[in-house]
Amino acid sequence: MTMLEVKDVYKSYGDVPILKGVSFTMEKDQTKVIIGPSGTGKSTLLRCINQLSPPDKGQVWLNGKEITDPKSNINKMREKIGFVFQDFNLFNHLTALRNVSIGLEKVKKMEKEAAHKRAMQELSRVGLEPQAGQYPAQLSGGQKQRVGIARALAMDPDLILFDEPTSALDPELIGDVLDVMKSLCGKVAMLVVTHEMGFARNVADEIIFMEGGIIVEQGSPKEMFTNAKMARTREFLGRIGALYGDDEGG
Amino acid sequence: MDGLKTTLGLTAFGILFGTILGICLAIGRSYGKRPLPYFFIIYEKVLRGIPLLVLLFLLYFGLPQIGIHLDPFSAAVLGLGLRSAAYQAQIYRGSINSIPEGQITAAYSLGMSRLKAIRHVILPQILRLSIPGWSNEFTILLKDTSLAFSIGVIELMRQGRYIQVLAPDLILVVFLLIALIYFILVFSINKIMRFVEKKYQMAGYQAEVHR
């Protein structure tokens, strides 16, 4: 069974159409990267998947259950989908530890002790154990984002959505976050919207190129970078490739 | 509806007094040479720490003991004005703090004296920035005039009381009516002030303090 199926999703903000019929699927533990010019609906697509912005038309299926069905329990569905934000959105009034554990405590109804223990594990995983007792205001951008990832991981999701996770970071902090993301490959399904071409090229199982609210082309990194079918794809990758160079991105 | 006229009169005089005094206090505190600021600080603290009612009593009942006799209206205006000045000073100080320091430096470098700089550069900006806070204070003052009733001023509230004595059954209706009058006044003033605010707005500027 396909883990994630996005079928014919349409979304407009007011009169402006953003997504004009997007469809794709994802399998368990796959890593897919969405690239494309800014403002073409990539972030909107992610928000449609976890229903932060429900689509106007179309369906989203997770593990055989339809998320977009109004009768479905969206909160239960969201436990299975993690979201990492461009602006981190850490809970400002909680320490790093509690940021990670609060989902476990309040949504999964875990005991406080157990939740904290699990949270510590996740924080270690992203390399932030010493910062457990600090508040978001005291953390650097890169640290904040890693806490954000830990927070998403703690919920044991089937899929994690990354919405331009490194766009708000200083260049030298991007590497740490990308390293964490790389370590997750193959362990959990990841759908990443990013401009980091190095990451896309070296880590993704498949790359999706979006423009104008539709998927222009999708394929393996090798196919897309060396042998893309659509001229537009070649053009975009060519330009960005020249800009970012061949290295790991960050 | 004489009471209404009195209410409006109290408000007008009170706010006028308060505004002028308030501006002086704010400017004196921010730009004055010591020890002037300290007096102003104490004034503000004291007048914002006492209930209006107590202040009115002090002025109307207390002053006669040392020979100053005020009629109810004057005592009320004095009390309202003094208090309002203290709160307004805070608003103006917030506006003053919002003005970049470069303004007064630029004024000096043009050759203006301290007084001229304040008058031509700082003051116009302060007044515009303070409009939201000031209109807030205006409506507060309007509502506070109802307290003047307690020292015998014949404004809206006291008229209401008179009617209460004459027609006890209608009492609820009467007070609701009075409430309505106040509400209409406050509402209209808010609308007018919002219009004024828009008209005199300086793009990109906002004062940082509200009461």
């Binding site: - | 009612l53 207390g62 509400f183």
Partner: protein, 231 residues
């Protein structure tokens, strides 16, 4: 003269303390009731549907558009004509609470809205429902942000509790008037009372500041505290 005044002060003390008790009662009960009412109204304004929102706005505008005194009069003098009677203290507590609720609703709403929308998105993404998000993420931050406004409201209630005198509640100002009319020493009495209020104000501000510091979290809070101690 000073000795005479001292003696006078000591003689008046019992009455003044009794009045003070009422003043504090009025202040504390009203600020608490007003707070609960205010939160309900603020949440209704921010998260409620059109009907709830409209009702809340109507209530807030009405209360804030009319003087406290008028509201007290309506409750104490007006309602009896339709059969609802309150004792002075009940009417005062009710009136002050209703009034405070409307004002607190406004700055609570401001605080809630100043919590970035991303916080709500993050909470929902974890699977929290709306209520949980508000309870565990939005409110803890909003309540810390609004502390300066809240302490202003406390001081406000402390002072305006004196209005209860007009509907015959024996609070501090009323006691003062009583003593003064007996002894004709208006100036001294009201000066004394003024000083007491002043001390109350300063002490309260100090206590609230300390408590606020205790609960503060780096990164949350208004940038500039408008305080009576601003130098």
């Amino acid at each position: 003269m000073a000795v005479d005044f001292g003696q006078f002060f000591i003689n008046s003390l019992p009455d003044l303390l009794s009045g003070l008790g009422y003043t504090l009662l009025l202040t504390f009960v009203s600020i608490t009731a007003g707070f609960l009412l205010g939160i309900a109204l603020a949440l209704g304004r921010v998260y409620g549907n059109k009907i709830v929102n409209g009702f809340c706005v109507g209530y807030i505008e009405l209360i804030r558009g009319t003087p406290l005194l008028v509201q007290l009069f309506i409750i104490y003098f007006g309602l009896p004509s339709v059969g609802i009677n309150f004792t002075p203290i009940q009417a005062a507590l009710l009136g002050l609470s209703i009034n405070s609720g409307a004002y607190q609703a406004e700055y609570l709403r401001g605080s809630i809205q100043s919590v970035e929308s991303g916080q709500m998105s993050a909470a929902r993404s974890l699977g929290m429902n709306k209520l949980q998000s508000i309870q565990h993420v939005i409110l803890p931050q909003a309540l810390r942000i609004c502390i300066p406004a809240w302490s202003n409201e406390f001081i406000y209630l402390l002072q305006y509790s004196s209005i209860a005198y007009i509907i015959q509640v024996a609070e501090l100002t009323a006691e003062g008037k009583f003593i003064a009319s007996q002894t004709f020493r208006y100036l001294e009495v009201f000066a004394m009372i003024a000083v007491i209020y002043l001390i109350l104000t300063i002490v309260s501000t100090e206590i609230i500041d300390r408590v606020a510091k205790h609960f503060s979290i780096p990164g949350i809070g208004a940038a500039k505290r408008v305080s009576l101690r601003d130098i």
